[in-house]
């Protein structure tokens, strides 16, 4: 492996490539990235919320306050995971845009980093829109809420990076549906998104807390509801950081392998 240098211009070109592509598909991103999670939050928050009298065991004033931040960070996780599968494979092999990019001065490591930056940027944007709707619903509790879109972006990258490492090592999309539906989706549903993880057996809790979704969701919930504790928050951030850094390293190696002729 040659020395890793990440040139900002190269990174920007990869991000710009995606911004330009999105000019043709923004409606779809808005539907799947913004409207879909907002409907999920409202249907469950208001619908199930109307059947709940007392949410003190969840630690919030109402169910919407619990489920809103859960769905915000959870769907960022979901989108990060899905984008790292088929859309990444498409750029790497099917459409092959990235094979052309590495014929320019842009390196495989820069392609991967730009790719993850784009995911982060997209999630920052869509989570901001989600956050506005959520805050209209439950009211402003804490100025930490302003950090939430960045937490959502980190949550998305914490799952996208390791899955990109997997995708880059595959020739076909066999097994993708399994990862999406047996790893990413269950983590979205079970990581304290809709209910307290304390209601699960200890072994299940341990598995859930190993993965990053739970930590992104907890951080988001703290920040939205103004219940932040510095120690716990740093702990959650550290877990996200470990997944991002380890995933990034593995994905750089994978992209270098996939993009070297």
């Amino acid at each position: 492996m040659t020395a890793l240098t990440l040139h900002p211009t190269s990174l920007w070109h990869v991000v710009e490539h995606h911004i330009r592509r999105t000019r043709r598909s923004w409606a779809g991103l808005l539907l799947s990235g913004v409207l879909n999670p907002i409907f999920t939050m409202l249907a469950l928050g208001v619908g199930i919320g109307s059947q709940i009298d007392d949410t003190s065991s969840l630690g919030t004033n109402g169910y919407l306050e619990f489920v809103g931040p859960g769905v915000l960070a959870g769907s960022a996780f979901l989108q990060g995971g899905f984008t790292a599968l088929w859309p990444t494979m498409s750029q790497l092999r099917w459409e092959g845009a990235y094979q052309n990019v590495v014929r320019t001065p842009c390196s495989a490591a820069e392609v991967l980093t730009g790719h993850l930056l784009w995911i982060a940027l997209r999630l920052t944007f869509s989570s901001s829109l989600f956050l506005v709707v959520l805050l209209i619903g439950i009211g402003w509790e804490s100025s930490f809420a302003l950090l939430v879109p960045f937490i959502a972006a980190l949550t998305a990258v914490s799952v996208a990076a390791p899955i990109c490492a997997f995708t880059a090592r595959r020739e076909t999309d066999r097994g993708f549906a399994l990862i999406a539906r047996m790893v990413v989706t269950p983590l979205f549903v079970l990581s304290g998104t809709f209910t307290n993880v304390e209601s699960f057996p200890a072994a299940v809790q341990a598995v859930i807390k190993f993965f990053p979704a739970f930590h992104g969701i907890e951080l988001t919930r703290m920040f939205v509801n103004g219940t932040s504790e510095i120690g716990a928050a740093l702990g959650h951030l550290a877990v996200l950081a470990v997944w991002i850094v380890a995933g990034w390293f593995a994905a750089v190696l994978g992209f270098q392998k996939a993009l070297t002729p």
């Binding site: 598909s25 409606a27 779809g28 991103l29 539907l31 799947s32 409207l35 879909n36 409907f39 999920t40 249907a43 469950l44 208001v46 619908g47 199930i48 109307s50 059947q51 709940i52 009298d53 007392d54 949410t55 065991s57 969840l58 066999r174 097994g175 549906a177 399994l178 539906r181 047996m182 989706t185 269950p186 549903v189 079970l190 998104t193 809709f194 209910t195 307290n196 209601s199 699960f200």
Partner: protein
């Protein structure tokens, strides 16, 4: 000349051979509703109030479980009749190839729909067995959920294929995914539709999954009544209507 049975069976067989290589995808379809049952139905059971259905008070997990059987049936049919159907139609050109054999268009459609119905029935049956083991089913009438699941699969296939004939590219599937997500969330699956205002309840009555959810719930409880004939009629009507319309649109697409 070949018989219709042989023709339809060969289309179903192609799907079976295809999925035999990727059993994981079938397995994932079984498990997905289970995650929702655990994450919401069981996870929130102690917090959500008991729900009244047909005069009986149900714990929240007993309320959610039968609805998720209907969802399992919907999921079983939804992917094959939309995403996979589009891929086969426009990319694989599978149907052009099939029509170059003695198969007719109606054989091909019947075969594909039969496969979807099989998959729906399989998903719903496994999930029904699981909910019964968990003690969430209280009536032997629940066994009738299996044919109802087949009807749900039939109905979703017909609507799915019909919708897919309008789809131009992969981006259009985002609309379809959103529609499926709304059906999943708002069809009385997780909360009773009495939460909605009157116009909202009228709207939900026009959607397919709601009728499936109600039928499964009533059968699981053993509180079947006249209203279930209405639910059956709506599902059957939508199946026939959209099925015929889909066939018309496909004829125009494939036979010219």
């Amino acid at each position: 000349m070949i018989t219709t049975t042989f023709a339809v069976r060969s289309v179903v067989e192609r799907n079976i051979i295809f999925f035999r290589r990727d059993l994981g995808i079938l397995l994932a379809g079984f498990l997905e509703p289970i995650f929702w049952l655990v994450g919401i139905g069981i996870g929130l059971n102690s917090i959500v109030n008991d729900v009244e259905v047909a005069g009986e008070l149900l714990s929240y997990r007993e309320f959610v479980a039968p609805g998720l059987i209907a969802v399992a049936a919907m999921n079983g049919a939804a992917f094959d009749s939309t995403f996979n159907f589009f891929y086969k139609l426009h990319y694989l050109k599978l149907y052009d190839a099939m029509l170059a054999t003695p198969l007719t268009l109606s054989n091909v459609v019947s075969g594909e729909v039969s496969w979807s119905v099989l998959r729906s029935t399989l998903y719903a049956s496994v999930f029904l067995a699981l909910t019964a083991v968990l003690g969430l089913i209280s009536s032997p009438l629940a066994i009738l959920i299996i044919p109802v699941a087949a009807l749900i699969g039939f109905c979703i296939s017909a609507i799915g294929v019909f919708s897919t004939t309008f789809i131009r590219n992969w981006h259009d599937f985002d609309y379809l995914s959103l529609a499926l997500q709304l059906l999943f969330l708002c069809s009385g699956t997780f909360f009773p539709i009495t939460v909605y205002p009157d116009w909202g309840q009228a709207l939900v009555n026009l959607t397919p999954l709601y009728h499936g959810v109600e039928l499964c719930r009533h059968l699981a409880l053993g509180t079947v009544g006249l209203v279930d004939l209405f639910h059956l009629g709506m599902l059957a009507g939508a199946t026939v209507g959209f099925g015929l319309w889909a066939q018309k649109r496909l004829e125009a697409k494939l036979l010219d």
